[in-house]
Assembly symmetry: C2
């Protein structure tokens, strides 16, 4: 099943012994620009070898000649074929691994296997942008509300009885939880709840988006220990019932009200956190 694939060397099979190392950087003129004919001077960007390797793999992926399950040649062989060092190959494989495109396995029949991509990469990158301040909590929670509204419409059309049963079982699990239980358990159940809903959309893209937004928001919920909503269970029951009855408007309203309430709570928690951080900073300031 794991078709063996070879990667062609772009460079014409360098001589075995190169006089020296380290000048393997390829210069590539930006293909954009060239609009007005005069000088224009496109910026030069130096392409590193690991990037070149990644691109080669991605090209073959896009062309369909490299499919999930396929195995790339071992690092050493790949390095030889491409005429680069094993370290460079490793950096390329590392990049592809981080991108969720290949998986690395040690051992006898190990190697780099093409995967099917990884939805978590989307979550991670949005989370990064959130943590680095490019995305605000305000925008994040708003987007989640809107996306879930949209999803609920689809779900009301497409939900199947088994999915309804799964949702009901999930709510039941919430009821059996001790009130004093850890926040992480409640959050885990909620994550599962939204995952079930996202799956009911029957659309993998929406699943990826919903799971990303949900996971990031729920992590915030867990960290900013806001109190447990006492009427959460009742809300979930109503929501599931509306979905089961395909009452789109009711389901949407139920979902939206809940998410907006959560949004307000989170925003308040953020403000107080910012305040306490500011006072701490002020204290440090005056301490000096």
């Amino acid at each position: 099943m794991t078709r063996k694939t070879t990667i062609a060397a772009t460079t014409p099979a360098r001589a075995k012994k190169r006089p020296a190392a380290g000048r393997r950087v390829v210069k590539v003129a930006d293909p954009v620009a060239a609009d007005r004919s005069h000088p224009q001077f496109a910026p030069i960007r130096t392409k590193r070898v690991f990037e070149e390797i990644c691109e080669q793999v991605r090209r073959e992926m896009a062309a369909g000649s490299l499919r999930p399950g396929d195995k790339l040649p071992p690092e050493r062989e790949l390095a030889l074929k491409l005429g680069v060092s094993r370290a460079a190959v490793r950096e390329a494989l590392r990049s592809l691994e981080i991108a969720g495109v290949v998986g690395l396995q040690k051992g006898a029949h190990g190697g780099a296997f093409i995967l099917k991509g990884d939805p978590d990469i989307v979550t991670r990158s949005i989370r990064d942008m959130f943590h680095l301040g490019r995305i605000s909590l305000d925008n994040l929670t708003e987007a989640r509300t809107l996306v879930m509204q949209m999803a609920i419409e689809l779900v009301c059309e497409r939900i199947r009885p088994t999915a309804v049963a799964a949702l009901e079982k999930n709510v039941d699990r919430l009821t059996t939880l001790p009130v004093s239980g850890k926040a992480s358990e409640r959050v885990a159940i909620s994550a599962e709840f939204y995952r079930l809903i996202s799956q009911a959309t029957d659309n993998t893209v929406l699943q990826v988006i919903i799971e990303a937004l949900t996971e990031i928001v729920l992590q915030q919920v867990e960290e900013s220990n806001i109190e447990f909503f006492p009427n959460l269970i009742a809300h979930r029951r109503r929501l599931v019932e509306h979905i089961a009855n395909r009452q789109v408007d009711d389901a949407k309203r139920e979902m939206t009200e809940h998410l907006q309430r959560l949004r307000r709570h989170l925003m308040r928690a953020e403000r107080t956190a910012a305040d306490s951080k500011a006072t701490r900073a002020l204290a440090e300031e005056s301490a000096r």
Copy 2:
């Protein structure tokens, strides 16, 4: 402005000379499980050093002690502080770079700088999943239609006169294009059109999502040379006008009809491409 930050070594400053290398893999028992008290034997996953380094950086990011613009210590110094080889540090930095979290700069005052994250990572990972068959064209175009419907509602509420002007100017650019022009130019203008719309949502998360879906779909448009929609310009004009007049329902309808038409065309193109691929495969088969 570029605050200098240090990363603490977790390991207690190893002795300078280690007897041998290569056994730096940390074993970590999965914290899940441990449900029934009996044996249970959680699976063991070995964490690689570069992962450990990445996590340390991300932790400081989430905690706010590492912010965009900050500079990490140089590779050599970092390797020394963490007690690992420079290659391991490089693989970690490579991962963070691929994730859009840090940027590497050569030269005198170069180093690894914390960035604000990169929206393109989302695009890339979704595109990977698409190319690897995890996401279907059907799901992709449906998701795009739905997300754009949602976006249009927001845009009709929030659009500003300057944004309307920018949209109109974009449509004008489309008219000045020679009919026989390259598909890539038309696609570039369309991409810009959708970018302007996404920006009018005033929500960075939606911007990221819309740009990702749009870019992937438009790339498909470009590759599967479907004919130019002769009434595209009229459609765009109507859409912009509806948005400017905040006629939500009209704008939504206009947007949806167009996207659904495009969707049908793309799906047809996909089918024919699959067919020709199948015949090719069949031909190869019989040739043997």
